[in-house]
């Protein structure tokens, strides 16, 4: 299994996906299928063009799954699958409606790389229950691609805007782990990403990530080998995850 899971698409002062280009290049594919469904206030063709322009300098041609009359076949024929950012709820709703959850899982299982950022990273998790996004649609089930035995919280940041009395991100994740004590959550700061290649999983990027597990204080994880987390048994099967 080959995955590249980014917290975010743009670093301050950077261009779209720029901070990830070297990692994308290492994956060494020439053609990709892009899933633009998380885009809500951007047209999918415009979104596709943005991703095309970002990946053209490293010689990757990108097609949009939305351009195909048969999205399942488009995924089945993919050399590389790209799950773009935006609204995670909308992404999961449409991926499910088009029958792509199983199609993507099956392709990734036989070695087709998956690259996700932001909402696309949430989609790779067991469920989307650690998204930051507003639930603008009901995806009819929270189960996602389940490519990892843990959850990622993208754009991890524990700061609150001045004067704000709501929960911090860490408090929100602590609520998740209280209700779902068997499921760790990796808070992935902006600028960071995970590279999964077979048995090896590596955390990359400038900032430490934060690992949340019920019964433990959140633990800082610095760039480097994360295979211990990936090797973890998935303790529940789809539909029985957590305490629900």
């Amino acid at each position: 299994m080959r995955l590249l899971l980014l917290s975010n698409s743009i670093n301050p002062g950077g261009a779209y996906l720029q901070h990830a280009l070297a990692a994308v290049e290492k994956i060494n594919r020439r053609r990709a299928i892009f899933i633009p469904y998380a885009g809500v206030t951007i047209g999918w063709d415009d979104y596709l063009n943005k991703v095309r322009q970002a990946l053209a300098p490293i010689g990757i041609h990108v097609d949009g799954v939305h351009q195909s009359d048969d999205p399942v076949a488009a995924i089945q024929g993919a050399e590389l699958i790209l799950g773009g950012g935006g609204n995670t709820w909308r992404l999961l709703q449409l991926v499910r409606q088009h029958g792509l959850l199983e199609a993507i899982r099956a392709k990734v299982a036989v070695g087709t790389p998956y690259i996700g950022w932001s909402a696309g990273t949430n989609l790779a998790c067991p469920t989307i229950r650690t998204t930051n996004d507003m639930p603008i649609v009901d995806p009819k089930g929270f189960d996602a691609l389940n490519l990892l035995p843990f959850q990622i919280n993208p754009h991890y940041n524990n700061e609150l805007p001045a004067g704000h009395q709501g929960e911090t991100r860490s408090q929100r994740i602590a609520e998740f782990t209280r209700i779902n004590p068997d499921m760790p959550v990796l808070g992935l700061p902006e600028g960071d990403w995970l590279e999964v290649d077979g048995q090896q999983t590596v955390l990359c990027g400038p900032k430490p990530a934060l690992l949340f597990k019920e019964g433990n204080e959140p633990r800082e994880i610095h760039a480097g080998d994360l295979s211990f987390l990936m090797a973890r048994q998935i303790e529940a099967t789809p539909g029985t995850r957590g305490t629900e």
Copy 2:
């Protein structure tokens, strides 16, 4: 119908529910049933005690719905219903599991006042699709109490923490209105609340609220009469709201 819907429970430097005491007192009830289900990392008895202490100075005695063997009967016998803050997903999940959605709706329809803050305010809306909370559990449906013909986004604030590249709150709400063009959203800043009394709806508090509707720029609404929004026809019925 009598509602008091608060954005938040604590203002900077204030005590729990302190900024709302005069508005609560106006409702003129002596006994209340409190719904603590949104509390995840606080025990429900502790949460009840916190609310008891907050409302004791204005002579309201509070019991917890969780203390009753028959929560539906507890709601049916209530003089005043309190929906507390915390995690909106957990609140809706447990309110639904205990059969309280219909029980609360029925009581409010015959004049029993409902007071909500934060998650409890989300619960009063047609759906919880404008919550800010992390979806730590699947509530098995997003439909909520549907006491209003519009959505409220509590803790409304458009600031981002320094360095954060994710969506602003206004961008998130714009995604909602794009997908759900018939449903306005009132961004309710901390410190503000709505008072609904029969045909009259009033926005109270120090900051302007922001009204989002697809096809229009967000509009600042200052403290005062909001009955135009409350009088709005509910254009869809439960199960057919939005475009899903």
